[in-house]
């Protein structure tokens, strides 16, 4: 996966900034060429004379949406990463109210914040003034922030997407938006065509404010055809099996048995991190060697969500733990739950080992030997003697095999 080029944000930030200027250039250029440097043209949207704002915005949204789908479908871009870094979290109320206010400000000033920039840079004084106003407004918010803080945070849904909200596949949602946009375009053209029959008196010093119907319709078919083609292609690729994302997957949670845990702790203890979720007192008394006493309530404070994924997590609870706590599930690496919780460990490693099994069952015997050894190492108890008597020494020595010798 090639995109996004995260190195431009991290290691090569300076280059990223250069690229930002270049992208911004394109942004400003297109906005200006779309006519968004003119308040009259923008305002016309709200009087249905000129649906340019509508068309440009939805055109852009559909293009981007479909483009992202194509790139992600071809395995060139990590759509999930872009969505995570590009979309802000949803706060229903402030967004709703902010939108209403911004809409009002839009029609009052004739610009939105972005277009005021373009207006300003193309020499429109009203644009510059509106731009200044926006700046003041953002600062005003800083000043009033303490009073609106609660409202600002209300209606938090986290990072949600329309398709999540509606519970439908992303491809279907994207298709829906595309279809909606296309029908809106048709509707917009209709509206324009209707109102164009009696065009408004042009403003002083203004040339054509709205394109004529013929202007609007001539490239329409071609553009529509292209958009439709790309949209179908994009939706098709969206429906392809998704390329696995580059970012680590959610924690995979599984069970681990006490002997296996013991073995992992003996082989490469640094590869696992054992967290004891029982209360501090019980943990201080007896615990798995090397484990950390982190009572369940304190788990959130460990910052597991951002911990390095390479060291696997083992959770030891008092009783059988049914499900990993949310804080542990946020851990990006593997999470193990000790089967049977601490009692199982105690039975395996701390309590007196059971009697030796029948020597004929090699597997059981080995398991028993291991348990005895762990028990002796952990408790310091003398290990129980192995069931099979060891041969007596020197006396019954086999004939010495001469191996090489004096060569």
């Amino acid at each position: 996966m090639l995109f996004p080029l995260t190195s431009l944000v991290a290691e090569h930030r300076e280059l990223g900034l250069v690229v930002a200027v270049a992208l911004g250039f394109g942004f400003g250029f297109v906005l200006e060429r779309a006519g968004f440097g003119r308040s009259t043209k923008l305002a016309a949207q709200f009087y249905f004379y000129d649906m340019t704002v509508f068309k440009v915005m939805f055109g852009a949204i559909v293009t981007t949406m479909v483009g992202l789908a194509v790139f992600s479908g071809l395995g060139l871009a990590d759509l999930k990463a872009i969505q995570e870094s590009g979309a802000s979290e949803t706060f229903v109320w402030p967004m709703l109210v902010g939108g209403l206010l911004l809409g009002a400000g839009f029609i009052v000033s004739g610009y939105c914040p972005g277009t005021s920039l373009v207006a300003a840079s193309s020499g429109n004084i009203d644009g510059m003034v509106a731009f200044g106003g926006v700046m003041v407004g953002t600062l005003v918010f800083d000043w009033i922030f303490p009073w609106v803080h609660d409202f600002h945070m209300s209606g938090a849904l986290g990072q949600v997407f329309l398709h999540d909200l509606l519970g439908i596949p992303q491809a279907v949602m994207a298709a829906g938006v595309t279809v909606m946009a296309l029908s809106l375009f048709l509707g917009a053209d209709k509206v324009e065509a209707m109102l164009a029959r009696k065009p408004p008196a042009p403003a002083d010093g203004e040339t054509a404010v709205a394109p004529t119907v013929r202007d609007a319709l001539r490239p329409r078919r071609l553009v529509f055809a292209i958009l439709l083609g790309v949209a179908v292609l994009g939706l098709g690729t969206l429906a392809l099996p998704a390329t696995p994302p580059a970012s680590p997957s959610r924690a995979r949670v599984a069970w681990i048995a006490a002997p296996t845990l013991a073995q992992r702790l003996l082989d490469q203890p640094w590869q696992v991190r054992v967290l004891d979720l029982r209360d501090a007192k019980a943990c201080e008394e007896q615990r798995v060697p090397g484990s950390e006493c982190t009572p369940l309530a304190t788990l959130d404070k460990l910052g597991l969500a951002t911990a390095p994924a390479d060291r696997e997590l083992v959770l030891v609870a008092g009783d059988a733990l049914k499900k990993a706590p949310a804080a542990a599930r946020a851990f990006p690496g593997r999470v193990w739950l000790l089967q049977g919780g601490f009692p199982a460990w105690k039975a395996f490693a701390l309590d007196k080992p059971p009697a030796a099994p029948d020597a004929s069952d090699a597997k059981a015997l080995n398991a028993w030997k291991f348990q005895v050894a762990v028990n002796s190492a952990v408790t310091g108890a003398k290990p129980a003697p192995p069931p099979a008597a060891s041969g007596s020494p020197a006396g019954a020595a086999p004939k010495k095999k001469k191996k090489g010798g004096c060569s």
Partner: protein, 174 residues
Amino acid sequence: MQAATPETPFWNPYVAGFALGLVLLSTFLIMGNGLGASGAVHRIGVTGVAAVAPEHAARVPMMAELTDKGANPLDDWLVFEVLGALLGGLVASYSAGRLKLGVIRGPRISIASRLLLAVAGGVLMGVAARFARGCTSGQALSGGSLLSAGSWIFMMAVFGGGYAVAWFVRRQWR
């Protein structure tokens, strides 16, 4: 070629929309982030405040967040993007023969009133953009194309707000 060239007409809205989409798409693909305007404007404003009244900037929590520990509020990619946008607007309007100083207004409104409304609307939008965590560019356009739920709520609200107020200010435009 010395003679004043006629203005280039605006692009067909669909073409413009498509072009804008390509720019936004590249931005997402290259930077992993969308386009925006209000965030950068805010940063520029905070820089100004910090330059004029540093103590004040340090006292207001939201401003302090950007200037904390000697951080430069301008050190953000959005600011650079906005610089580029200004440049882009400049080049576009110049090359289209539209670059000239003036006030664009409706037929029935004085320059002073137009400017007053522009600034009032601007302030309103500034506050609103901060509430909504983004403006038409950052929230509606960029978030919208990612199908972010909040962005769509915001976008609908913008049009709603606009149409609702349009009737009251119609004299400005017509």
